[in-house]
């Protein structure tokens, strides 16, 4: 038995002071009528109930401290091969290091790992390699720590950190008095690299204004000239990085109060700065021009939390107030436009569209008050009652910006059929309101009752209610002109009603009273304040068959009442069954099955009329009117979050000690989802299966080997129809090859299958409903997509002690493959033979693989020093068809440019030599 002497001595030193405390405590206990305070085992950095920041570490130290410490050869004690109650092997403990002592009674330990790393990670700089980690060559203070304690005063002071000076550095500081109070502060940086193959055309990326480097704003003389100029510039522009770094710091105070009360309060501040890939579009419908840009990011988020907790043997109570204040230090982003864009129904010349301006994410506030209460009911079937109430408000009231940054009044331009006067669209006077005044309130009530009517049976009922109330109102109407709708993309397009309405001056009722058919049915005239109410009712039972076997069963109904969605109500009944067997000595088995059946009220493909121009006037009746914009979607289309759904999930988990030193684990999930009423949208059967194996071999104290393997498979299907047309007064003829015309002339080699005449009286039904002879959604123009995902993950590990020298090796292989297969009728879709040939029956596989081999060799120098030699080799491959050809062909048309060449393959080697010092 080691260290017993020193421990015993320490214990003896403490005994006197402890005795004094206990005596004092007894008096205190009597004074407060037997109430007993509870110690806190939670510490600020791992609050499982509130907030984030539960870990401080980085890729080199996921644990936040060096896990390469020497293991204790004597294990944990009498049961070196002990297992957790589930049967999982207990991890070998680290060797306990006796602390140093100074004259004032302080015990202290200090440690550091410092060295140098180098390799080609810096030069490889593939985004995936450095996505969340800093592997730059150079000196590395990998970890450090200082622990001080004065047992006589129950005082402690800890400092820890790692990755010093790097983009993934972290630090923590904590001090306090055990069982009384504690302060913890932290600072943590997290890099996030989005791409390292971005070719910027602008100065000022990361700021609120991005100015072209030499290219003319507005594209110059023509689209072809703009294309040439941009291509030439890109050819000489090196790849750059778009990334951000999260820098977060905070502090928390925990205090144990008398009478079983506890108080805590925390504050954190996070700053995010950098840029990420973004898109800028011009024209209506996106056809005017499109260029990949960079979104400048400079966010600050303040989070405050305060709470009060009470618990005794009968009841417990939590009260907490949380606030989160998000501030975007870049309110708007203005980007100069290098494209010669195509104008859509708006101003007369492309040259006016020199800039784009975004209203970036607005400042917002979140405040949440939450109260929870639980009480045992020992005299009522040994019951337990819980209740929780939570109220929250999400709000923002940012100043709105003008619809266009460009002065559209030049060149005698018109928009929506009206001439543009100066200031009509590029000032905030053109808005119906000056600030957003947006607000969503949420309310949560949760009640639960758990009873034990029989010794071996628990029954439980739960009721949960959650609602969101969206109070945001915004009308899209320009009070200066009386025009409903909006200009699009800084004036390069428009979705405006014509001037027939302007006299009513943005008055909805007056506009509707005019009785004028709008030019289109799908022009947004106001926001959609989505909100919902969610109800969950649960009844469950847990029956203990014997000491180690149990069954559980539950029925749950989850229902939603939604506003402004295709379905007002959906409800899902879930039946859950579970079996747990912990009875066999070598392991545990857990099985569960869940069946869910979701249905709902009538599905309306178009619930949005009141927010669109369709609501401002009667339906069109005139022959020749294109009425497609009055049809929102296919009648038989089902959005998957609202669709009827049948779902079965089978879970299994077994861990088993095969033999002495051998531990195995198997887990699996088979998920089968069916959308029985979805002809279009996500449809048919969806599968998600996962199978996982674990194996650990620990033949002796000198060696351990582990291996794991996971296989995942998923399939998802969807279908839709490429819309055709719907014009009142037209007759549509459908032919055997899938083609459609309005002339009735039979194409060579085909035969007429049928025809449909569109009238004012039938257009909503014949065009809105998919069918063989639907003018708008003919089934000949249907296409479907099947997505197959496959993933393999393999992990291998070896830990071996060569006497004093220790080797630790880990290998991880992760591979993912997504196949996209599709079906379509190329003739019906009007595709050429060349297009059909190139399209084939699917995309090239999207693949991802990473092989990582990491080796560490620990060589002890003396009791206080070890040398760690590290080698890491990583090969990554990403193939994504979104980026096929982008590097070589960044401007495939004269008004589209893609500046991010996408993910890269990489091969990186990293060497490190570290000195690990324990003082």
């Amino acid at each position: 038995m080691k260290n017993l002497g020193s421990f015993a001595a320490q214990r003896d030193r403490l005994s006197a002071s402890r005795a004094r405390r206990i005596n004092g405590l007894n008096l205190l206990t009597i004074a407060v009528a037997g109430a007993a305070a509870q110690m806190s085992s939670n510490i600020a950095s791992a609050d499982s109930g509130n907030g984030v920041d539960t870990v401080l570490g980085n890729a080199m130290n996921p644990a936040g401290f060096s896990t390469f410490r020497e293991k204790d050869p004597d294990g944990l004690g009498e049961s070196p091969d002990s297992r957790s109650p589930t049967g999982l092997r207990t991890r070998e403990p680290f060797l306990v290091k006796e602390p140093n002592t100074n004259a004032n009674g302080w015990l202290y330990n200090a440690n550091a790992e410092v060295g140098v790393i180098g390799g080609n990670a810096t030069t490889a700089r593939a985004a995936k390699l450095i996505e969340y980690r800093d592997l730059d060559d150079g000196l590395l203070l990998n970890t450090f720590g200082l622990q001080l304690a004065k047992p006589a005063d129950a005082a402690f002071f800890d400092v820890n950190g790692g990755g010093v000076g790097r983009k993934d550095q972290f630090y923590s500081l904590s001090f306090g008095h055990y069982n009384d109070w504690k302060v913890k502060a932290f600072y943590n940086e997290t890099p996030h690299v989005f791409t390292t193959t971005y070719r910027s055309l602008w100065s000022g990326v990361g700021s609120d204004t991005q100015t072209l480097n030499g290219l003319p704003a507005g594209g110059g003389a023509s689209a072809a000239a703009a294309q040439t100029a941009i291509r030439n510039t890109l050819a000489t522009t090196p790849y750059g990085e778009l990334s951000l770094v999260r820098k977060k710091g905070g502090a928390r105070f925990d205090l144990n109060l008398p009478d079983n009360w506890k108080f805590f309060a925390s504050y954190s501040n996070e700053r995010r700065q950098g840029a990420r890939p973004f898109g800028t579009v011009f024209g209506g419908g996106g056809g005017g021009g499109n260029i990949e840009t960079a979104e400048s990011i400079d966010y600050t988020t303040h989070d405050l939390l305060a709470g009060l907790q009470f618990a005794d043997s009968l009841q417990s109570f939590n009260l907490q107030l949380a606030a989160s204040l998000f501030r975007n230090n870049i309110d708007t982003l203005t980007i100069e436009n290098p494209l010669f864009v195509t104008i859509n129904g708006a101003v007369s010349t492309s040259g006016n569209i020199t800039r784009a301006r975004y209203d970036l994410y607005p400042d917002n506030n979140f405040i949440n008050l939450k109260s929870e209460y639980a009480r045992r009911l020992p005299d009522f079937y040994d019951g337990r009652f819980t209740a929780a109430v939570s109220l929250a408000k999400l709000s923002q009231n940012d100043n709105l910006i003008a619809p266009s940054v460009n002065d559209l009044s030049a060149s005698g331009a018109t928009i929506g059929g009206a001439p543009i006067a100066a200031g009509q669209w590029n000032t905030t006077n053109s808005l119906s309101q000056q600030t957003a005044n947006a607000e969503i309130d949420t309310r949560l009530v949760d009640l639960g009752l758990r009873l034990t009517p029989l010794n071996d049976l628990d029954v439980q009922g739960k009721l949960r209610y959650y609602e969101t109330q969206n109070k945001t109102v915004y009308w899209a109407c320009n009070p200066l002109t009386g025009q409903w709708g909006r200009i699009i993309n800084d004036g390069s397009g428009s979705a405006l009603l014509n001037t027939n309405y302007t006299a009513t001056g943005c008055n909805v009722a007056a506009t509707q009273a005019l009785g004028i058919v709008p030019v289109a049915g799908n022009i947004n005239i106001r926001n959609m304040p989505f909100e919902y109410k969610q109800f969950n009712y649960t009844l469950g039972a847990d029956y203990r068959l014997n000491r180690t076997n149990s069954f559980n069963a539950a029925w749950e109904r989850e229902s939603y009442d939604r506003k402004h969605r295709e379905r007002d109500n959906t409800w899902e009944d879930k039946l859950k069954l579970g079996y747990i067997n912990r009875g066999f000595e070598e392991g545990s088995l857990r099985l569960s099955f869940e069946h869910g059946r979701r249905r709902g009220s009538e599905y309306r493909a178009d619930p949005y009329d009141e927010f669109y121009s369709a609501s401002l006037g009667p339906l069109p009746t005139a022959n020749g009117t294109n009425v497609a914009s009055w049809v929102h979607n296919i009648e038989q289309f089902r959005k998957f979050d609202l669709a009827d759904r049948d779902q079965n999930i089978l879970n299994g988990r077994l861990n088993y000690a095969l033999a002495e030193g051998w531990d195995a684990g198997v887990s699996a999930q088979f998920k089968d989802i069916n959308y029985p009423s979805s002809a279009y949208g996500r449809n048919s059967k969806q599968r998600q299966n996962s199978l996982n194996f674990d194996l650990t071999w620990t033949p002796n104290e000198q060696m351990s080997v582990f291996a794991y393997y996971s296989f995942q498979q998923a399939r998802m299907k969807q279908a839709s129809i490429w819309p055709n047309a719907c014009v009142i007064g037209s007759t549509y003829y459908f032919f055997s090859d899938g083609t459609i015309n309005t002339t009735g002339v039979v194409p060579v080699g085909t035969s007429l299958q049928g025809s449909t005449a569109v009238t004012a009286g039938n257009f909503l039904s014949v065009c809105g409903t998919a069918g063989a002879f639907s003018p708008l959604y003919p089934t000949s123009r249907m296409w479907d997509v099947t997505q197959d995902d496959r993933n393999n993950v393999l992990g291998l590990g070896l830990n071996y002690n060569f006497g004093k020298v220790r080797l630790d090796m880990n290998y991880t292989f992760s591979q993912g493959r997504t196949k996209i297969h599709y079906g379509y009728n190329p003739t019906a879709l009007g595709m050429t033979a060349l297009q059909t040939g190139l399209a084939g029956d699917g995309w090239s596989d999207m693949t991802f693989s990473v092989n990582t081999l990491e080796s560490n060799l620990m060589i002890p120098i003396d009791k206080q020093m070890n040398v760690r030699l590290m080698h890491r080799y990583e090969v990554g491959k990403v193939s994504d068809w979104h980026y096929d050809g982008v590097a070589a062909n960044p401007m495939p048309t004269n008004n589209t440019a893609y500046l991010d060449a996408g993910p890269q393959r990489y091969r990186a080697t990293l060497f490190g030599a570290m000195l690990m010092i324990d003082l």
């Binding site: 402890r18 204790d72 009841q315 917002n364 559980n552 747990i580 988990r653 279009y680 982008v886 495939p892």
Partner: protein, 322 residues
């Protein structure tokens, strides 16, 4: 927010707080009697260490040891070993009888319910208020499946593994594999833990989430997407998981499907492009061979134009383009 609305909220909040505190205070005097404080067969830590010195060596490093030994606030805490294992006198006389002491290992065989009750004797309430009946409790996990109070092997919380993630992935191997996919949250890189989103000790929000809704969990780190916005995107406002797979995905940005197909699972308006059939002749590479490139396919696909897909505050942002 209007003054009246603020007033209503404050009144409702104040009422809730007052009700809760009142309820608690009114009932606090009726607490059950504390655990028996008589000698009850307690023999003291010194006696335990006579046989369990090695255990004590490791226990000394733990927070429990420091609290129990240096500043116990109850008699039970002062019992150190016996605070958790129960009175040891009978065990000392008959060390092989596993019914005489509460053990926290598979081999010792103390019923899980008894183990858990012993832990909750001190750790009830707070973040564990919803443990009874929770998913982990229903599956008969013991506290000591995740925590090992006898050794300090993790940075905090006395976990059975070095980190929270390792501890969770001991059982949740499926999620371990998902965090190795092309896009994933930075858990393997040590910048996040499972407990940033989930409360393994129980929650009123499924699946063991730490906030009132999935979205509120996500907003904790992605506060900019909280809004609310003038122009909202329905599935975004309701549930981030409609589009994103939080543990990992083969697609960029944790998406459930590649764009544009993800978007066309909901969108097919009669006017415009979402219902069009997007295909392999529309890539930048295909254009070099005579294809017809589409900005709805290349690069960020739909988000080339609809870049503010999480919501827009721009007056022209109804389609999330500004």
């Amino acid at each position: 927010m209007s003054i009246a609305r603020l007033g209503r909220l404050l009144r409702t909040g104040a009422f809730t707080v007052a009700l809760s505190i009142g309820l608690c205070c009114a009932l606090s005097g009726k607490a059950l009697a504390a655990a028996p404080a008589s000698d009850g067969g307690y023999i003291g830590e010194k006696k335990c260490i006579e046989c369990h010195g090695q255990e004590a060596t490791h226990f000394t490093e733990t927070l429990h040891a420091k609290v129990f030994r240096q500043n116990p606030r109850t008699q039970q805490e002062a019992r150190v070993c016996e605070a958790c294992h129960g009175p040891g006198a009978a065990h000392a006389k008959d060390t092989k009888n596993k019914d005489l002491l509460i053990g926290y290992t598979k081999g010792w065989g103390t019923p899980v319910e008894k183990q858990t009750a012993q832990c909750l004797g001190c750790h009830q309430g707070g973040n564990r208020m919803h443990w009874p009946g929770s998913e982990h409790a229903k599956n008969k996990l013991s506290c000591s499946d995740c925590h090992n109070p006898m050794e300090k092997i993790s940075g905090n919380a006395l976990l059975t593994r070095h980190t929270i993630n390792e501890t969770c992935m001991n059982c949740h191997q499926q999620q371990r594999a998902e965090f190795r996919k092309r896009s994933h949250m930075p858990l393997p890189e040590g910048k996040m833990s499972c407990v940033d989103c989930h409360n393994p000790h129980g929650s009123i929000t499924k699946p063991l989430l730490k906030a009132d809704s999935i979205n509120n969990v996500c907003y904790t780190c992605h506060a900019e997407k909280r809004g609310p916005f003038i122009w909202e995107h329905a599935p975004v406002r309701e549930n981030c998981a409609n589009c994103h797979l939080p543990h990992g995905s083969n697609q960029d940005k944790l998406l459930a499907s590649p764009r544009p197909y993800l978007c066309s699972q909901c969108h097919n308006p009669a006017v415009g492009h979402p219902g069009q059939f997007f295909r392999a002749d529309q890539s930048a590479a295909a254009q070099l061979g005579g294809g017809t490139p589409s900005q709805r396919v290349i690069g960020r696909a739909c988000q080339n134009c609809h870049s503010q897909i999480h919501g827009s505050n721009h007056p022209s942002g109804a389609r999330f383009q500004r």
